[in-house]
């Protein structure tokens, strides 16, 4: 009888352990933690390459902390998501506010990742809303799974440290909730100013 109980406990604990790790892997990036490994293709467009300023050229992939910036804002979006469509002008405005401010330009950069969107669909969204920052396709939901299968839009703020390490300072579903408020919140959280 004792053997059976031990055996039963072993099975349950093993499975719960697997469950625990599986659930953790599917959680959205937590504030205070590091950004999970996300590989993105180096853009073909030279303006986008210059914007990201990866410090290396050519083809292949890069990781988000390799972007030359002190803070990277990642928007998980979809061309098919009504909120993302409605929010596009606000995110463009956020980009413009950063670009127009000499103390922020080059330090804060924005990228978008289209969950379940093909390159064509991401391109359609970019053209429709004149999105000035790089957008990446995630047609097979590979990145979407890494970031915990979040609803869209989802914003992640990642502080890039000088030693190459990074820390998630913002991780939230939904709209920006006001461009100025969002920007000042992220500046404060990243201790940029």
């Amino acid at each position: 009888m004792k053997k059976i109980i031990v055996c039963w406990l072993a099975v349950v604990l093993t499975i719960l352990g697997v469950a625990g790790s599986a659930r953790t892997a599917n959680s959205p990036p937590a504030v205070g933690g590091t950004l999970p490994d996300i590989k993105l293709p180096i853009p073909n467009d030279s303006a986008e390459k210059n914007y990201l300023d990866l410090g290396f050229f050519g083809f292949g992939t890069f990781k988000i902390p390799e972007i030359k910036a002190k803070l990277v804002i990642i928007e998980i979006f979809s061309m098919y998501c009504p909120y993302c469509q409605g929010e596009a002008p606000n995110v463009n405005q956020l980009y413009a506010k950063i670009d127009d401010n000499p103390s922020l330009k080059g330090k804060i950069k924005i990228i978008g990742i289209g969950a379940g969107n093909t390159s064509y669909e991401v391109g359609t969204f970019k053209k429709k809303y004149n999105v000035p920052f790089p957008l990446f396709a995630d047609g097979d939901y590979v990145i979407h799974k890494i970031v915990g299968e979040v609803r869209t839009p989802y914003f992640i703020g990642v502080k890039i440290n000088t030693d190459g390490t990074n820390r998630v300072i913002y991780s939230k579903v939904g709209t920006l909730g006001g461009v100025d408020d969002f920007l000042s919140t992220l500046i404060k959280l990243s201790e940029l100013q």
């Binding site: 059976i4 055996c7 039963w8 599917n26 098919y80 998501c81 093909t118 064509y120 939901y141």
Partner: protein
Amino acid sequence: MKEHGRHFLFVLLTGMGLLIFIYAPASQAAFGLSDVFKNNIYNPGLLKPTDSVSKLKAGDRAPNFTLKAVSGETISLRQYRGKKNVVISFVPAAWTPVCSDQWPGYNIVKDIFDKHDAILLGISVDNIPTLFSWTKQMGNLWFPVLSDFWPHGKVASMYGVLRADGVAERALIIIDKKGIIRYMDVHDINKRPPLEDLVKELEKLK
């Protein structure tokens, strides 16, 4: 011995139950679903990709139909004859994951449909009140949304896209101005058809 067997069965069932808990497709957002729908989307899980018997193919004459739209209009296929190419988008059901993020994408590409002199008709077997509530979350759709609720799924059945459980397939059909079917994609119900596939087919209409 019998008791041993019972205990073994208990351990086995507990293990199986936990595994199902871990791997069940519980996440509503697994499809990158818009936050606009909050937690109101029912996830049926992974379904059989297609579950209907095809009746029509490219080159066939498209059967006429008349259905009520959410807007209150009554729309017949034949009213577009000689005037517009018609794209029909059958979706399985309101308030489900992939469907909820399909038509909102078409809503921002009216220019593509205009460029190819095409109208889009969205059809589902849901009733008008359900379609009204659901499509309201998508913003103002520029295209008519038609209810094939009663007689249940009559049009879907006519086009060979009614599944065994009474919902429609996820299908895209292009009908030219002469009323001839030029493209028919009965898609895997679990996946959204890539927009470029539809655009490529619209470009062939010239």
